[in-house]
């Protein structure tokens, strides 16, 4: 629900910065905390650039390298009704904050029977694709899907990033907001002023009748390119960008596949026991007897992410692998 029609072109990093800036302006309870967030650094990737200068260092807090304490401090403040946005710089480091996020934040409202909520947003980023190796390249969103009590959001465009992050910040429940560094520089039209994208609404990024590619995050970009390629071959792929994994927009997924009768699931996380496993399992059972092809999955291969570029590329999905899966699915005959 965009409340203004004005847009401007900006990068995804810029859109995230704008969402944070506007949230800080809109509500005095909002504050940011994390490593190197304040100016002049403005975040290791510059995403929070300018915010401490504008809103003050009491609103944009630099922290020690203490991921458990970053999460814990955010949680404590949230229990008091503050609105913290915590940054865990790289998703691989979230392992260190996991007890706090999983065992306290996700369970706070339930365990207190509603006496405390925990409206934190944890921003983190997948650094895959930069050749940083196995401990700086993981996409672990499936872990959080498996933990009842936290929402899981992965934007693929600057506009969605702004709208979804704004929704997360003001959501009364904990949200994990996963950014993709490889997309920080991607540009797009972004609504100016308050822009909220409702959590739990998938977005059909490209309509098509032959096969549905269900995807999120970086895989959306590949899926759109794959769809372009396939169009040249006479295959019209529909690209459904989930945007949020919890809540999940089952209706939109099933409605699309009800039309195409064929589905491919794609993400950059490891395929095995990834988000796509849940979604493929749901598609297969909900659409039982109505599919014209098995659901194919495309994800990272079951390997630690290697550092050398040739090897890294061989592990991650790609436009080609997604196109191949969609082609096989579209052309599958029993």
């Amino acid at each position: 629900m965009t409340v203004t029609a004005d847009t401007s072109t900006m990068t995804m990093a810029g859109a995230i910065n704008e969402a944070l800036d506007e949230a800080l302006s809109a509500d005095p309870r909002v504050f940011l905390l994390g490593e190197d967030l304040a100016d002049p650094a403005g975040g290791v990737s510059g995403v929070t650039s300018g915010l401490s200068t504008k809103h003050g260092r009491e609103r944009v807090l630099d922290t020690p390298i203490s991921e458990a304490a970053i999460a814990g401090a955010a949680i404590g403040a949230a229990l008091e009704g503050r609105i913290p946005v915590a940054e865990i710089m790289i998703m691989d480091f979230i392992t260190i904050a996991l007890d706090q996020i999983v065992n306290i934040a996700a369970k706070a409202r339930f365990m207190s029977s509603g006496r405390t909520g925990c409206p934190i947003t944890v921003r983190t980023a997948s650094f895959g694709g930069l050749g940083s190796g196995a401990t700086h390249s993981q996409s672990l969103e499936a872990w959080f899907m498996h933990v009842p009590g936290i929402k899981v959001i992965v934007p693929s465009t600057p506009a969605d990033a702004k709208g979804l992050l704004t929704a997360c910040i003001f959501d009364p429940d904990p949200c994990l907001f996963l950014e993709t560094v490889a997309l920080y520089g991607a540009r797009g039209e972004v609504p100016s002023g308050t822009h909220v994208v409702e959590l739990g609404k998938a977005d059909i990024k490209r309509p098509g009748r032959d096969v549905t590619i269900v995807c999120y995050g970086r895989a959306v970009i590949d899926a759109l390119q794959a769809a372009d390629q396939l169009a040249g071959e006479g295959i019209e792929a529909e690209v459904v960008d989930l945007r949020t994994l919890v809540p999940l927009d089952v209706e939109t997924i099933m409605e699309s596949i009800g039309r195409t009768r064929r589905a491919v699931m794609a993400h950059y996380a490891v395929e095995y026991a990834g988000a796509g496993a849940e979604i493929a399992a749901q598609i297969s059972s909900k659409m039982f007897g109505r599919l014209d092809a098995p659901v194919r999955r495309v994800g990272a291969r079951f390997r630690p992410i290697p550092s050398a570029r040739e090897l890294e590329a061989a592990v991650f999905p790609s436009t080609e692998r997604i196109a191949a899966a969609a082609r096989e699915t579209a052309r599958y005959f029993i």
Partner: protein, 334 residues
């Protein structure tokens, strides 16, 4: 800073009565629950705090009602002395709808924001960083309230403890770290899990004032907490208090304590803080022997009344699972 909502500090006599009352109430609750479990009346477990009441009483009496507390599975005494209604507390232990969280949380997860108990954790050390966030919220709100967090000696070996201590010190937040050093962590004596002599020295790693005090002397605790609160309220930052004490009943209700040297237990029991303080108050003319007996009877009566109310309340209905989970259940898996 808002000013204190608490009246001028009571005179020594009043404080003495308050401390002793709190101690007897905490002990009465612990004893009655253990009795009920031993008899098969209640099919639950507790982690008895018997022996550690002086700390809870000193802490509860020194803190303001709006000061915050985070405690642990062994913290029923802390909660009682901070003012959690017995009915809510016992109700949660027994898993009835009268409980603080209507049975959803359980003994290890009691929350009672009305009296400042914002979180109870079953995971050792986990509450420490959260208390830092509570104190951060106080500063952000311009309140001079403080946040106290209770934990055991064993908890000071966790990374969470150190991350939280460091963050509180770096940000000079009003946190009181209350280590209830009962010399054991489950079945393992303290000397096997740390090489230092005094837990209080762990404050040195974070340039924080750290004091070891007699945790069996409620007045010493009251005094130390009062000073630490004053320091915190006036912007002087956090304090670590190591309160040396003992747990008489082992780790959990029914613990055979095979690991416990009999002399150590009997020496500790001989120093039981309750008769010791009673004796002192009677000697000082603050209390008569009759009044002491009356207080103890009154405590037992309050506990029994709460138990009766709790048992009269219904067990939780499965419909509890449909509420107080996410604020908005749309798109959330069933």
């Amino acid at each position: 800073m808002t000013t204190s909502t608490k009246a001028a500090p009571p005179g020594a006599e009043e404080v003495g009565r308050e401390l002793y009352t709190k101690m007897t109430l905490a002990a009465a609750c612990d004893e009655r629950l253990r009795q009920g479990i031993a008899r098969g009346e209640f099919a639950v477990t507790i982690w008895p705090s018997r022996g550690q009441e002086a700390i809870a009483a000193g802490l509860g009496a020194a803190l303001r009602k709006d000061d915050r507390l985070v405690t642990t599975y062994r913290g029923l005494h802390d909660m009682i002395c901070k003012g959690v209604p017995l009915k809510e507390l016992i109700g949660e232990v027994l898993g009835r709808t009268a409980g603080a969280s209507r049975g959803k949380g359980g003994t290890m997860h009691i929350t009672c924001p009305e009296v400042g108990v914002m979180l109870t954790t079953g995971i050792v050390g986990a509450g420490v960083p959260v208390a830092v966030g509570l104190a951060l919220a106080a500063r952000q709100e311009g309140s001079d309230r403080v946040a106290a967090v209770c934990f055991g000696d064993g908890a000071t070996n966790t990374g969470s403890f150190h991350e939280g201590m460091n963050l509180a010190s770096t940000w000079q937040l009003p946190v009181i770290f209350v280590c209830q050093n009962n010399l054991f962590a489950e079945m393992t004596p303290i000397a096997e899990t740390m090489h230092i002599d005094k837990v209080a020295d762990r404050a040195l790693a974070h340039a924080m004032p750290g004091y070891r005090i007699d945790g069996n002397d409620p007045e010493a605790v009251y005094q130390a907490v009062s000073e630490a609160s004053e320091r915190g309220r006036s912007g002087g930052g956090p304090t670590l208090l190591e309160c040396v004490t003992f747990r008489f009943k082992g780790h959990y209700m029914g613990d055979p304590q095979r690991y416990m040297p009999p002399e150590q237990l009997s020496a500790a029991e001989a120093a039981d803080p309750i008769p010791r303080y009673r004796h002192r108050l009677i000697g000082a003319g603050v209390l008569t022997a009759d009044e002491a007996v009356e207080l103890e009877q009154w405590s037992s009566r309050l506990v029994q009344e709460a138990i009766d109310e709790v048992l009269a309340s219904p067990g939780p209905d499965p419909s509890e699972l449909e509420v107080d989970f996410f604020a908005d259940m749309k798109g959330i898996p069933a």
